[in-house]
């Protein structure tokens, strides 16, 4: 409507809000980023064990971001996210498994992309089923989807290497663990980039609007069903990418990692880590995901040094879940905004604003209110 724009002229569309941070301020922020960089880059560079664990953490970070899109932004629960991870891994491994022991880079890229696309397709399928159900029923449907996918697809002998696993050879350039870690980090960055633009564009606003109130969202012109489906597809695509990286990290696809108990355990960890990280909070979710990926190596290292290694090895299955449960409870009861809420003063400071401990709080945590957000 021309009248509208006309009446609102006299407004400089090009003006930008200045951050007001001096060069020194940015330098100080860079200085504080060094320990983070050391943790993310230098430690894996110097120790091969760390590289290995760090790749696993990168995979978890991608899954965390994928869960964040679905649970944090779209407000839909998924207890079957491990299926998308598995589908991505299965597809990628099968695409590159051409008999040679080193994939050529082109096939490798196709494998990763195919993993993303197939997982996104599977997510679209789940999304289409899940469009009109919510809450407990949605949780159940995703749970069943996860286990049925695992049991039905991952156990097809021609797809899982006659139950022996499908080898997933890396291309020559990524043979080294650190090189592959850099690749995994790049994939995490790609996910972060998409996540940033989900938040900055109409996509994230539409998803969050429909999470809060579907009626209001559609009054604002958001195609609620379409956006819900988009939320599922984006989430599935990220999880599929994580699956591809996972397959090439372990250099094989084995259905044992995704079927029955192991698969369900993964699904639970994925839900717990996104809640502990803080729904809708990128930094918190990535940090929490990395932490959950590193629980085992950290505890193993600790037990090794204190001489409890045998005891820990015997009990580690439930110790990990116990850590998750305790963190989940403290998040739900005391800190619904999750880790992201705790980190928030720092993240806003890094983004160029003043340091303030009294932040109004993160959107998702406040809106969904901890336990309620799981809606299961």
């Amino acid at each position: 409507m021309a009248v509208q724009t006309e009446s609102l002229t006299g407004f400089d569309y090009t003006q930008q809000r200045r951050t007001g941070v001096s060069a020194g301020g940015w330098a100080l922020r860079a200085l504080f980023l060094l320990p983070v960089l050391a943790l993310v880059l230098f430690l894996p560079y110097h120790s091969d064990d760390w590289t290995n664990d760090a790749i696993y953490a990168a995979v978890f970070a991608m899954v965390g971001l994928s869960m964040n899109v679905l649970v944090g932004y779209t407000g839909q629960i998924s207890l079957g996210q491990q299926a998308f991870l598995g589908i991505g891994a299965l597809t990628a491994a099968n695409v590159v498994n051409t008999g040679t022991t080193a994939a050529d880079p082109f096939t490798f890229a196709i494998g990763i992309v195919a993993g993303v696309l197939v997982a996104a397709g599977a997510a679209a399928l789940l999304g289409a089923i899940a469009l009109r159900i919510r809450g407990l029923y949605l949780a159940l449907v995703t749970l069943v989807f996860g286990s049925v996918t695992a049991d039905a697809i991952f156990t097809i002998p021609s797809l899982n290497g006659q139950d022996a696993g499908v080898p997933a050879y890396r291309p020559t350039a990524l043979q080294g663990n650190f090189a592959f870690y850099v690749f995994a980090l790049a994939m995490v960055c790609a996910c972060i980039y998409v996540d940033v633009w989900i938040r900055r564009s109409k996509v994230g606003r539409g998803l969050i609007a429909l999470r809060d109130n579907e009626l209001v969202a559609s009054a604002f012109g958001v195609n609620v069903l379409g956006y819900k489906l988009l939320g599922f597809v984006l989430s599935g695509a990220m999880a599929g990418l994580a699956g591809g990286v996972y397959a090439f990290w372990s250099q094989e696809f084995s259905d044992k990692n995704f079927t029955s108990g192991a698969g369900f355990n993964l699904a639970l960890i994925f839900v717990v880590m996104v809640v502990v990280g803080g729904l809708g909070n990128r930094t918190g979710v990535i940090a929490a995901a990395a932490f959950f990926a590193l629980i085992d190596p950290l505890f193993t290292g600790f037990a090794h040094h204190t001489g409890w290694l045998n005891w820990y090895t015997d009990h580690k299955a439930y110790i990990q879940n116990l850590v998750g449960a305790v963190l989940l409870l403290q998040t739900v009861i005391f800190n619904p905004g999750g880790l992201g809420q705790v980190l928030r003063p720092f993240t806003t400071w890094f983004s160029g604003k003043r340091f303030s401990l009294h932040d109004e709080g993160d959107a998702a945590g406040a809106a969904l209110g901890g336990a309620d957000s799981v809606r299961a």
Binding site: M1, L8, D12, K202, V203, I208, D212, A219, G221, N223
Partner: protein, 312 residues
């Protein structure tokens, strides 16, 4: 008649709208028209079906019978988000906004249909998307300035007062440059001063933006001040229509609002701050009003609210 004689283009036309929930007929054969440039009021006691009518018009409910025409086009089955894209904006009775977002983010969300880029392109963060987002933010800032809400720009909705929220909701509805605006009780929660201000604001907005409006409103002075034409619903049926002065003196309308017998005159100017209190007071005063000779001559007093519908 204050109905605009020259501009007779109907922006919105509702024909024989009927919707039933189970055995209950929530709206029965409702027909109304909103013409270009008009501000039309939709009144009626609680449960009369006003909001249901809004929900049918905006596509949230699928009516059992009848048609909704928007600029001559049948849009009865068009889903809400597409109606929003067509230029039909609406507000909700209990503030319809995204509660977990900030004021600015809400105004950006409200411009969803005006972004001009596709969802997938938005994810690439292309230069055109960045540029467009800046424009959207500037437009949001302009609306905040227009409504005097600039100081709340980065606040979350939870920390705002109800009156501010109602005003902001109006801003959100305006952000998408609507052609037709459906306002569900815009003055709820406002005192007489504020609602008077709101009335002036609505008139000013029409003057500036040329928005046609249909509003559900209880506040009689506001309706009298802004509406060109009023429809009154009761039990899902159209009870009366006409210009505000005519309608508020309509005995059946008065009876419908107060229950029981129709008093002779509903003095809008004497309605005190609290509407509920006013209704109670008037209900008490109802049995023995001083009869106005002019009206008594025209319409004999009815003994109940069950009189036949008058042609208006």
């Amino acid at each position: 008649m204050r109905r605009w004689g020259v501009l007779t283009v109907s922006v919105l036309e509702v024909e024989g709208l009927t919707i039933r929930f189970g055995g209950l007929t929530a709206i029965d054969d409702l027909s109304l028209a909103v013409k270009e440039w008009e501000i039309v009021g939709l009144m009626g006691p609680n449960g009369a079906g006003k909001t249901t009518a809004f929900n049918c018009i905006t596509g949230f409910y699928k009516p059992n019978a009848g048609r909704v025409l928007y600029r001559g086009e049948d849009v009865t089955r068009v889903p809400p988000h597409r109606k929003a894209a067509m230029g039909i904006g609406r507000t909700f009775q209990n503030v319809g906004m995204v509660k977990s977002e900030t004021v600015l983010e809400n105004l950006l969300t409200a411009q969803h249909t005006k972004t001009g880029y596709g969802a997938l392109k938005g994810l690439t963060g292309a230069t055109s998307v960045r540029h467009r987002e800046k424009e959207l933010a500037a437009h949001a800032d302009a609306i905040l300035e227009l409504l005097g809400l600039t100081e709340f720009r980065d606040r979350r909705l939870g920390s705002l007062s109800y009156g501010t929220l109602k005003l902001l909701e109006l801003g959100c509805a305006l952000a998408s440059d609507p052609d037709l605006l459906l306002l569900d009780e815009p003055s709820s929660g406002m005192g007489p001063e504020e609602s008077h201000e709101l009335g002036e604001r609505l008139l000013a907005l029409r003057q500036a933006l040329g928005v046609t409006m249909l509003l559900i409103e209880h506040h009689v002075p506001l309706v009298t001040a802004v509406c060109d034409y009023v429809y009154v619903l009761n039990f899902g049926k159209l009870l009366a229509e006409g210009d505000p002065e005519h309608v508020r003196n309509h005995p059946e309308v008065v009876a419908a609002y107060l229950g029981g017998e129709a008093p002779e005159e509903l003095e809008a100017t004497e309605v005190p701050e609290e509407q509920a209190a006013a209704v109670e007071e008037l209900a008490e005063a109802a049995p023995a009003p001083a009869p106005s000779p002019r009206r008594a001559a025209r319409r004999p007093r009815r003994t109940g609210a069950s009189g036949k519908k008058e042609a208006s």
